[in-house]
Structures are given as C-alpha cells and as structure tokens.
Amino acid sequence: MTWVKERQGALVTAGILVAVVVILLATGEKESLVIGVITGSAYGLLALGLVLIYKSSGVFNFAQGEFGTVAVYTLYLLHFEVSYGFALLGALAAAVVFGVLVERIVVRPLFDAPRVTVLVATAGVALLSIGVEIWFGEATVRPVDRSFPTLDRFTVLGVNISDQRLLLLGALVGLAILLALFFNRTNLGLAILGASQEPTATELMGISVKRLSTIVWALAALLGGLAGVLAVPEGGGFTPGVLTTGFLIPAFTAAVLGGMNSLPGAFLGGVIVGVVEAVATSAPIFEDIPGTPGTLLVFAVLLVVLIIRPQGLLGKAA
C-alpha cells in the first residue's frame, strides 16, 4: 500500500493519460491527440524553463515567453545576413544574454524581496520587451523559416508530422531527461537545489548563490529561446510578444498541472494542456463557446488543478 501511496501522483497521471487516449480514439478525435501532443510540446518546453526558475528561486517568471520572442526576432533579423544554422545559434545566444541581463538588472537587486515583487518585476520586463518590439518592429506579422523544410515525412493518425515538429518533440523529451539528470546527478544541479532551500547554508558551503542564480536564469532563457525558435515557425509567422500572449498561460497551466517543482511534470502537463486545447478547438460540443474555446478550457483546467490538487500531478506537496 505504501508503494501506491508514494506513487499516487504518477498513477493518477497514468490513469488520466489512458482515459484521455481512449476517449479521443473512441470519439474519433484522434487528430486532436496528435496535434495536441505537438502544440503541447511547445508549452512543455516553455514550462520547463518556468519550473527551472521556480525550483531554484521560487519565482514565477512572466518574462519566460519573452526569452523566446527575443530569440525569434534575432533569428529573423540574422537570417537576412547569415546561414540558418548561425542565425539559430545567434538567436539562442541573444536569449541567454537577455536572460542574464534580466537576472543582473532586475532579479538580483530584488534578491531579498518577497517573491510576488519579483513576479511583478518580471511581468514588467515582459511588457517592456513587448513595448520595444512594437516600437521598433511595428505590430505586423513576419514570417520566419523552419529549421527543416520537409513537412510530411510521417503521417500519424491522419496528421502530417513535419521535421520541425519532430525536432520540437525530441528537444522537449531530451531536455526534460537531461535536466532531471542534471538536478539529481551533478554537483551544480544539487547546488542549485540546495541554494533554493537553504541559501545561507549553501553560502557557508562555499558556493556563490548569486552565481548560481545567474546560471539558472541563463539556462531558463536558453530553454525559452529554444521554445521560441522551434515552435513559432510552425505557426507560420510572429508578432510582438507572440510567446507571451499565445504560449505563456498554457505553459503556466502545464507547469502547475504537472507540479511547479517537477521537470517531468512540466513535460506531461504540456502534453495534456496541448491535447485539451486541441480537443476544445475541434470537438463539436465546444462549438457554442464564443471566441477560442481552448482558452476557456485551459483556464478551467488551471482552476480545477489548483482547487483539487494544488501540488500538481507529479509535484511534492510543500
């Protein structure tokens, strides 16, 4: 019985996943399943960055989406000058630089401030970033290239899978595993966890908590940047603040659903939120909801999770 109790979250998750798959296949919504997993992996990738920052500093980072948008803009601008590969590297570098700047200028001076203050500050960073993007770039839709042009290498349950989508899913799974290993096996990962729980004790062990914070924000920005450059080309084009308006809330819902401190949870949550959104968009019973039904359903998921199981599916109760 203890075995069941300890793994309650994982079992509930497995149950939900099986139920969702069965229902979707039975109702003929199998396309939604595939589309959902793919959009969900973008949410999951963004959620990984959110969880990373929450795990290490207890902050909800509302600028996470903007890390991605900055990368997309850089990719767009650099691609006029250099080949795609270099532009991609430059884009990720730009995201990391932005992340480090945010940490240095905004997060560090608020090191001892309550966490909600930092939340407001990161939301301010997101707004500033959007404002500057509109100011210099105007609110027009711009196209951005995919990493790989092939659009229909596979067909799963009637949906063409492009190479870009495969790359996105692969990157998400790979990064989730790598990050889990990083936190459990490496000294640096353990130090980051230690610093989040006992900053003073960590300092006494001779580890610079501030340097760790910089590393974490750089890593999170890299994840956000990856989410941007991999997911946005699938949408066809981008506008200022594209990842904040379109991806941030589902990503947060994914992170909360999976458990704010669980990296595999972010991955799972992303997939589930993606499927929920895809079903809401295509299933006939949600047709009467005005506007985009996906938004409403994701909000409902967020509320239900927070009320029934605030620690999330795979998270540990605080």
Partner: protein
C-alpha cells in the same frame, strides 16, 4: 525604598510637569502660502481643463477615471496584498455592461453605472470564491488567465460587445458636453476616495491591514482572513466596474480590442508607481499613465530626444506607456518602493498644516513587497 516613594508628595499634574510641546501651528504667512498652493491645485484640477478642446478634455476625464481604476487595484494590492493581473477584464466587463444597459436595454446611465459596479463585484465574488483559497503567486496566475478568458471568450460574445465595431455608449443626459462629463468623473472619483477612506477607518479596514502584514497572526486575533480577502476583492471589482462604465461613456463606445494583457499590466504598474496605500499617490500615478501620450504630444522635445536613438521610429501614444511604464516600475521597485505617494508625503503633510519635513516619508515599509506569497 518603597517608603521613600510614598513620602514624596504627588506632584500636581499640571503645574510642574514639563510643558508638552505645542502642536505646530503655521504662521500667517505659512497659511497664506498653503492657501496659494491649494488654490493652484484646485485651479489645475477644476479650472485648467475648462475651455480646452473636446479631445483634450476627454483625455483629462480619462486620467480621472484611471485614478478610480488605480484606487480599485490599490484595495486589492495595497490593503490585502493580493495581486490581480487580470484587472482589465473587470474594467472591460464593466464598460460593456454599462454600454449594453444603455444602448440595448435603454436604461438610464445611473442604473448602468450601478449595474456595472454590481457585475464587477459579482465577478470578483465568483472568481475569488473559487480561487482565493490559493493566494500569492497562484492567485496572480489565475487572474492573468481570467484576463485572457475575458479577452478571448467573453468579449467575443456579440450581443454584449456589438461584434467587431464595438458597443455604443452615449454620454448621459445633462453631461453631453465634455467638461461637464469631466466634472461628473471628478465627482465619482471623490465619492470612491471617500468610500475608500471610510472603509479603511472601520474595524474591517484595520483588520485588512493587519492580515496583509501577517495573515497567521491576524487570524489568531480572530480576523477572518479569507473572508476579508474576498471582501477586498469584491470591493476592488466593484470600483473597477464603475471605472469601466465611466470609461465607456467617455469614449462614447467600447471596442473589444482594447482590453488586453498589456493594459492589465499598465493598471498594475500605475498603481505601484503611484504608491500603494497612498490614495493621492495612486491617483497621480494613474493620471500620469493615462496622460503619457498627451504629454508626449505637448512636450515635443521628449520625442525629439527619442528620435536620436538610431533606427527608432516615433514613440506613438499607444506604445509610450508600454515602454516608459515598465522602466518606471523597475525603478520604483528597486529604488523607491513607496512610489509617488511616499515622495510627495512631505508636501501632503505640509498642505495639511503640518511642518514641512523632508524626512517624513510615512511608514517605512510601504512597498509592493507587502504582497505576500
């Protein structure tokens, strides 16, 4: 020793006790100076907007309405320490409700404002009832998601919003001219400020301040923390509804496009920059954000300076708050946690007949960090 004390004759309280320092009274000159400044403030608020062009008066009225919206967020953020990142939903739904009541239902404007306030309060009651058991970061997240739901679902209901072209909201009878409507908004602001002031003087108001400081301690003193948080949220929602209704009549129509994430953040920023728990500061901060575009037009040298940045297009009135706001927010959070309210406190005290004391910044811990996770 005890005997010693007994033998000492009790000093008559009035005669030998050191004279208590007389309360400070300004000199005649001081009073005149204060009166002049008061008159100046009154002139700027009451007389200056008179006889301006309709377009400008409309901007001033918007500044006053933003003051109401700022006060509405102040109740939640300043008094009970919870943050709403979806306040544009409350203001927007208030605006649409009022416009709908007037245009589609043929109600009078007074009924419309009352209904908008009630709907705002009701929304807060439902959303707060469901989600205030989770506070802090998670509450912020829920309100943010709710704002998005309002934008993508509620404002897509065509009967309410009149579809893409928006819902008309004609100005009330007797207040058709812009400056009369401006005075009406001022009256509403005064009423809201008065309610806010009286509310904070009640037992519940003090309990709110206490629970923000420390919910657990407050709860051991018999403060019903959840109920008061919900109450504050409802009051905040009702104020936001009034603000939304006035905004609708000021623009004479409401468009579904206006109410986005950016606006929600501007509302939070103007309240924080204004200075939490300082009514005057919040109103000044909010008015400033409503007038940024107007000020940019008036003071062209700012625009010229910005054009010196290579490749920078004009900073239009729509974008200006998005760029300037966050910078002011970050400066406020890091360097001046008390916002404008704390900075102008010496002037405020001086105007109230006290000594001018630059060191008197009010309570030291006045800052956004009162928001508890």
């Amino acid at each position: 020793m005890a005997v010693d004390v007994e033998e000492r004759p009790a000093a008559p309280p009035s005669a030998e006790a050191p004279a208590r320092p007389q309360p400070f009274r300004p000199s005649i000159l001081g009073w005149i100076l204060r009166l002049v400044v008061w008159a100046g403030v009154a002139w700027v608020v009451l007389v200056f907007p008179l006889g301006r062009e309709a377009f400008e008066v409309q901007q001033y009225a918007q500044a006053v309405i933003y003051g109401i919206i700022g006060l509405s967020l102040n109740v939640l953020l300043g008094y009970v320490g919870q943050i709403s990142l979806g306040h544009q939903a409350f203001v927007g739904i208030g605006a649409f409700t009022a416009a709908y009541a007037v245009s589609e239902q043929g109600q009078s404007v007074w009924v419309a404002v009352a209904v908008a306030a009630a709907v705002g309060g009701l929304q807060a009651l439902i959303l707060g009832g469901a989600s205030l058991r989770i506070t802090g970061l998670y509450f912020a997240l829920v309100t943010l998601a709710y704002g998005l739901v309002a934008e993508r679902n509620i404002f897509q209901i065509e009967e309410l919003t009149g579809g893409g072209q928006g819902q008309p909201a004609p100005k009330p009878n007797g207040f058709e001219s812009d400056w009369r409507y401006y005075y009406l908004c001022l009256a509403f602001l005064a009423v809201i400020m008065w309610i806010d002031w009286r509310m904070m003087r009640t037992k519940s108001g003090r309990a709110m301040l206490a629970l923000r400081e420390n919910p657990r301690v407050a709860s051991t003193f018999g403060v019903n923390v959840k109920l008061l948080q919900l109450f504050a949220f409802v009051v905040s929602g009702a104020f936001a509804g009034v603000g939304g209704a006035l905004l609708a009549f000021n623009d004479t129509f409401v468009s579904p496009e206006t109410w986005d994430f950016n606006l929600a953040l501007i509302f939070v920023i103007m309240t924080v920059v204004g200075g939490l728990r300082s009514r005057v500061g919040v109103v000044i901060g909010s008015a400033f954000f409503a007038l940024i575009g107007y000020l940019l037009d008036k003071f062209t040298f700012i625009q010229d300076g910005l054009n010196a940045i290579p490749g920078a297009p004009d900073l239009t009135p729509e974008i200006a708050p998005l760029v300037i706001g966050p910078i002011l927010l970050l400066l406020t959070l890091v360097f001046f946690p008390g916002g404008i309210g704390q900075q102008i406190r010496p002037i405020q005290r001086w105007l109230g007949g006290k000594r001018f004391d630059l060191k008197d910044r009010g309570l030291k811990e006045v800052q956004i960090s009162d928001v508890r996770a």
